[in-house]
């Protein structure tokens, strides 16, 4: 129903058509190889990949050790463990590493730039990389990035200019949010009971003119 909101419209089809032409030679053999595959997605075959990330001996495939540890520390600050588990328990670093490994070089670079900005600011202000800061120092740095204020005014004020660091923060936060809330722990956080059907939809049961 929300088709139009959900359609990802940023990319032009024409550009794709041009890009597809060289791929056609491969497509000729692609039709042959299709006969050997089942033509089902892993999900349609019933493959359950939910345990992959918790495998013992896990190692990052894209991030280096410092980047991985930094991501763990950051994710724990963004979505901490409270009365429910947080991003660290949900292994969001492992999922992000997996997805990044398959991303385009541009997207990979953008992520590393964001992480690098965090360490750069940390070095500039506290003379140490982000993951080695005290909890209080980490908080001061993140707070400045999360609620940017420039020239003495809050970002919401007229004339205030957004801190460029805010964009890096939001990029990292966005990755961590989507990784957390798409995990099994994240689904539970949202209260999901594991059942797929809760119908029928009841809708508004208020008298006319009173819907509060």
């Amino acid at each position: 129903m929300k088709r139009r909101e959900m359609i990802r419209g940023s990319v032009l089809a024409g550009a794709f058509a041009a890009a597809l032409r060289p791929a056609l030679a491969n497509a000729q053999s692609g039709a042959q190889s299709a006969a050997q595959t089942s033509e089902l997605t892993p999900a349609q075959k019933g493959v359950d990949a939910s345990k992959d990330l918790s495998a013992p001996g896990w190692k990052p495939v894209f991030l280096d050790e410092h980047q991985n540890e930094t991501l763990i520390v950051l994710s724990d600050l963004i979505i901490p463990s409270t009365d429910t588990p947080g991003a660290k328990e949900a292994l969001v670093n492992r999922y992000i590493d997996l997805v990044l490994a398959a991303e385009t070089p541009e997207t990979q670079r953008a992520f590393l730039n964001s992480l690098g900005y965090l360490d750069g600011e940390s070095m500039r202000r506290f003379k140490a990389a982000f993951r080695y800061l005290s909890r209080e120092e980490q908080d001061r740095l993140l707070h400045a990035l999360a609620y940017p204020r420039v020239g003495g005014g809050w970002a919401g004020d007229t004339g205030a200019v957004a801190d460029p660091g805010h964009g890096y923060f939001e990029a990292l936060k966005g990755r961590i949010m989507s990784a957390y809330y798409s995990s099994q722990i994240g689904e539970k956080e949202l209260g999901w009971d594991g059942a797929f059907a809760h119908g029928p939809y009841q809708g508004c049961e208020h008298p006319e003119g009173d819907h509060k």
């Binding site: 129903m1 929300k2 139009r4 359609i7 990802r8 419209g9 032009l12 089809a13 024409g14 794709f16 058509a17 890009a19 597809l20 032409r21 056609l24 497509a27 692609g30 039709a31 042959q32 033509e39 089902l40 997605t41 892993p42 999900a43 349609q44 075959k45 990949a49 939910s50 992959d52 600050l77 963004i78 979505i79 901490p80 409270t82 999922y95 997996l98 997805v99 398959a102 991303e103 999360a146 609620y147 990784a179 809330y181 798409s182 099994q184 994240g186 949202l190 999901w192 797929f196 059907a197 809760h198 119908g199 029928p200 939809y201 508004c204 208020h206 006319e208 003119g209 819907h211 509060k212």
Partner: protein, 563 residues
């Protein structure tokens, strides 16, 4: 063609139907149940309920819907929200199925090759057209009237709705005729408030979406269990898709032979003039070239694919495409214009969303209110637009900041409301498709070059639609209203129409009022290609009704030995 294999049964069918989606399924059912021997050709494989994934949580997917395989093989298809890591194999592989577009005229073409076609993943919104649409040209002077009126199609809308099962509410709206409805789905508090305020302030109708989803058990299928993601399949067959309804009936009649993996390249002509003999196809897996013969050939391959087959069927007599003495074949391509709407927050409503609430796979609909018989003509554009939308509490994934307070704010939620417009796309000669002589698909079949752009009228529609949506949300008390008034690239509505239009004048149109080619009487195009104008309603219901009407005509002529 040398070395061509005959079809395995060495049979001449009464009818060869190309395509097994919403319209092809109906053609196969109607013809087979009337006693005709039917061959139903589908370019993709068969589909099984075992591959439905609507109940699989995202965390079981390796990439949780960010699969690099989808990006690599479906760069165009994934522009549709319904193409995802769960089900991407249902969509065509873009590397095997290319098309081209001229510089500055992008078009996104989303399609499936599998039994049932796009009926497996469609949006399911089902609306009738009215004489305001069929006779629009007479009313505002632009374009051409349809060769049929609402009265001609109404009985066939009835047949289709009764069989498919459309849930909806009757409204008595002059632009949106009521139909044979199952009980409507319920509206949320925000939607009811919008309905009340918009009626009071503007006189416009807000109604629950009319959708091909069952709200009670119907024709052997179970009512919806509100799990949400219909586009991944439905284990209770509660939304309408052809493999488990019309195609199933056609096969059960004993008169229909299903041939999957049959990629049709062109129509074969008989030695007798102006008579089709059947179709030639390439076996998708073995690449063998085969012919299926039929007394009638019926194209239901999707608007652009059906016309591509005709363009690839040129003969000495029809050098510019089969059944194209008019020259209109390929022209008047349409796709509803999208890109305008508004969204906001309704701060007066309780939020606290719950992941265990039923997920209603439907929203609200606002029928066209511009340039209607009871309203003055708009000064800046002709025709109009309708809206789809909805209002409900949801998790606040855009909560500010970080840490425990942000984590709580996500769960506290936000009550959102949004409207998105679908506008009429005017039929224009210079929006067209043709064969790209330098481009072939993986089966060696010449591919399409699609040349389309929305015009000034579409842009004016979207500008007005953005402003009107904002006014309506404001009337409902929404805050933080964001307005959109852009024009997205053609194809984004996935409502491709036209390119083999109907008409009474064989010099101006490809098909007659019964979807029958003027030039070749045993050749029919029974899909969206036949549309004369696009209206602004989601077109699948009308396409199915046109198919059933055309089949009634074909069966009649068949029994009179005229086909």
């Amino acid at each position: 063609m040398a070395g061509m294999a005959q079809d395995p049964l060495q049979q001449t069918y009464d009818a060869v139907v190309v395509g097994s989606g919403a319209t092809g399924g109906w053609a196969a059912k109607q013809l087979a149940e009337a006693g005709l021997k039917v061959a139903l050709l589908e370019a993709g494989r068969a589909v099984s309920p075992k591959e439905f994934t609507e109940h699989m949580p995202a965390y079981k997917l390796k990439y949780r819907d960010h699969s690099p395989e989808v990006v690599r093989t479906r760069p165009v298809q994934k522009q549709c929200y319904a193409c995802m890591e769960y089900n991407y194999e249902w969509f065509v592989n873009d590397l095997e199925n290319p098309y081209s577009t001229p510089p500055g005229r992008p078009f996104t073409w989303q399609r499936l090759r599998i039994l049932g076609g796009r009926s497996l993943v469609w949006g399911r919104q089902s609306y009738r057209m009215s004489d305001n649409d069929f006779k629009a040209a007479s009313r505002d002077g632009y374009g051409d009237d349809w060769p049929i009126s609402y009265a001609d199609l109404a009985p066939y809308y009835d047949i289709v709705e009764r069989y498919v099962g459309i849930s909806g509410a009757t409204e008595g709206n002059e632009m949106l005729p009521d139909g044979q409805f199952l009980p409507p789905m319920k509206m949320s508090c925000g939607e009811i408030l919008l309905r009340e305020r918009v009626k009071a302030k503007f006189g416009h109708t807000v109604t629950i979406g009319r959708t091909a989803i069952l709200t009670q058990n119907h024709n052997g299928r179970l009512q919806c269990h509100y799990c949400g993601p219909c586009e991944r399949g439905c284990s209770t067959f509660s939304y309408f898709s052809s493999p488990f309804t019309t195609v199933k009936d056609a096969l059960a009649s004993g008169n229909c032979t299903l041939i999957t993996n049959a990629v049709v390249s062109h129509v074969e002509m008989d030695t007798e003039p102006n008579k089709a003999r059947g179709v030639t196809y390439v076996d998708r897996l073995t690449r063998q070239v085969k012919e299926v013969r039929g007394k009638a050939v019926i194209l239901c391959a999707q608007a652009l694919e059906s016309t591509r087959i005709l363009l690839n069927s040129s003969t000495r007599e029809y050098p510019n495409g089969l059944a194209n003495s008019s020259g209109a074949l390929g022209h008047y391509l349409m796709d509803h214009v999208v890109g305008a709407g508004a969204s906001g927050r309704m701060p007066d409503f309780k939020t606290l969303p719950n992941a265990n609430e039923p997920a209603r796979p439907n929203g609200i609909y606002i029928p066209r209110f511009r340039n209607t018989p009871s309203n003055a003509k708009h000064s800046r554009f002709i025709r109009g637009y309708g809206y789809q939308g909805g209002a409900d509490a949801d998790f606040n994934f855009k909560a500010e900041g970080y840490g425990a307070s942000m984590k709580k704010a996500v769960k506290d939620g936000v009550y959102g409301i949004s409207l998105g417009a679908f506008g009429e796309s005017l039929a224009r000669w210079d929006n067209y498709i043709e064969i790209d002589r330098d481009l072939k698909d993986a089966w060696g079949i010449p591919a399409l070059r699609i040349s389309m752009t929305h015009g000034d009228n579409e842009a004016a529609l979207m500008e007005d639609a953005g402003a009107s949506a904002a006014e309506m949300l404001e009337a409902a008390g929404a805050q933080d209203i964001q307005v959109r008034a852009s024009v997205e690239m053609p194809g984004m509505a996935i409502h491709e129409l036209g390119t083999a239009r109907m008409g009474n004048d064989p010099k101006q149109s490809v098909l007659n009022a019964f979807n029958q080619a003027h030039d070749v009487k045993n050749l029919f195009v029974m899909d969206g290609a036949s549309f004369v104008s696009s209206a602004c309603q989601n077109p699948t219901l009308s396409m199915m009704a046109l198919t059933v009407r055309a089949c009634a005509h074909l069966i009649d002529r068949f029994h009179k030995n005229e086909i």
